[in-house]
Amino acid sequence: MNLTKRMLMSMAGAALMFAAPMQAVAQDWQPRKPIDFVIMAGAGGGADQIARFIQAVAEQEDLTTRPLVPNNKGGGSGAEALIHVSTASDPDHTILVTLNSFFTTPLRQQNLGIDIQTFTPVAMMGVDPFVLWVHKDSGITTFEEYVAKVQEMDGEFVMGGTGAGQEDSIVIAYMSGAYDLDIKYIPYDGGGAVAKDLAGQQIMATVNNPAEAKGFYEAGDFVPLLAFSDERMPAYPDVPTIKEMGHDFSYYNQRAIVGAPGMSEEAAAYYQDLFTQVYESEQWQGYLTSESLSPLWMDAAEQRDYWALQVENHQALLAALGE
């Protein structure tokens, strides 16, 4: 189940070398109208925050001649966004901010007829790890205590998440399988609502991206127990990873930009160059650090390989979930 992040990381260096010749190509093509910057999630979630941050950086640094116009299409686990982008009348001015539903939604809904390999790779801005959180008043401080507690409650331990087949449910399903846990899972409509109900102790634990739980962690309300990253996270050095526990599993939410199917090569080159600049900006690098995202730079060909790999992995994970 290893998502082979390290292997891809090593390729990242090569990608940067490609960036230089790209810049030359990019001059040939400029957007003529506002760029439809489609976001695969509703306003306010983690993906939305990232999209708006990117838009802000582009605006601040004056990187584009036409504005990026954020367009939230979160309906149907991102199905709405995928349909919108794949049927875009002007693929040269339509780009999509993705998360892992980019892989799972077409798998879970074959009838959409979406083939993600037709999309145009643009940039991998980073990957977001997952962490298991509990409320400080639960008294649980280590993962072992958590496992003991869940087993003791025998099916009454309540966790919240963003829904069946969503990123966190995949992680929870894996964890439940590995430790023989019987968890009551309550689906919510967004990461914010999940965090709020953990803060209010309506639910007992969540699996969430650090960005969404950070405020509560810093206030001391949330306790991180376990990270699902490859290595310990710099911001949470005391939190063990599930790998250390002897399970070869890691899971990240991708924060990538892709172009609409049928985007011209010139336009793709322009966007690749644009997001390389955003990626290398001080603001984005700062964001990666402060929100605990891992960098995972890739060029276009690597992104396609990464997509294929992810589709394969998610197929297996979803099959394990019984989807």
């Binding site: 003529r32 109208k33 506002p34 439809d36 036409r66 504005p67 116009v69 009348s89 002007d90």
Partner: protein, 167 residues
């Protein structure tokens, strides 16, 4: 009106039945331990819709609702004419959006309505139907950064020129 009342109720009853049938794609029962299934909410509400339609039909038979007593036609000649001219105009307007862009369609629709239906003067009609889309363009695209449909590719030169102005 009397016939129309029953026809409307019948049509809505069919719609309710369709919604009920469509809801059964997901479980509509009460699943022990987890509560109602995914189709339960729309299924039972559609069922209430169906019952309401039956009640409406009973009221029709008893003649308690005003519509079921009225012998007036649903739409008289003037009614049909205005519905077709206005409603049809809106349909054509929306269809035109994908061809000659939102702003082009707005101009055509306004001119059609004000000049042809409203019988206002030619100059006034032209002025309103040209100024409104331009003003809306600057409001939506310039101030609000919302891109409206630009129709088929032949409108591109115009839009490229306009975008040059606002950005």
């Amino acid at each position: 009106m009397r016939v129309g009342e029953l026809l409307t109720a019948g049509f809505l009853a069919l719609l309710s039945l369709y919604l009920m049938w469509k809801s059964t794609e997901l479980p509509i029962g009460y699943i022990a331990g987890t509560g109602p299934g995914g189709g339960a909410w729309p299924f039972w509400l559609s069922a209430i819709m169906l019952i309401s339609c039956i009640c409406i039909a009973i009221n029709w038979w008893r003649g308690t609702s005003p519509a079921s007593q009225s012998e007036d036609p649903v739409l008289d000649r003037h009614g049909w004419k205005s519905l077709i001219f206005v409603g049809g105009g809106i349909i054509v307007f929306v269809a035109l959006i994908s061809i000659i862009s939102m702003y082009g369609a707005i101009a055509v629709f306004l001119f059609y309505y004000i000049w042809f239906l409203g019988r206002h003067g030619l100059i006034l009609s032209l002025a309103i139907s040209l100024i409104t889309p331009v003003a809306l363009f600057f409001f939506f695209e310039g101030a609000m950064q919302i891109t409206m449909p630009s129709g088929l590719p032949f409108t591109d030169p115009v839009f490229n020129f306009l975008y040059e102005i606002i950005y």
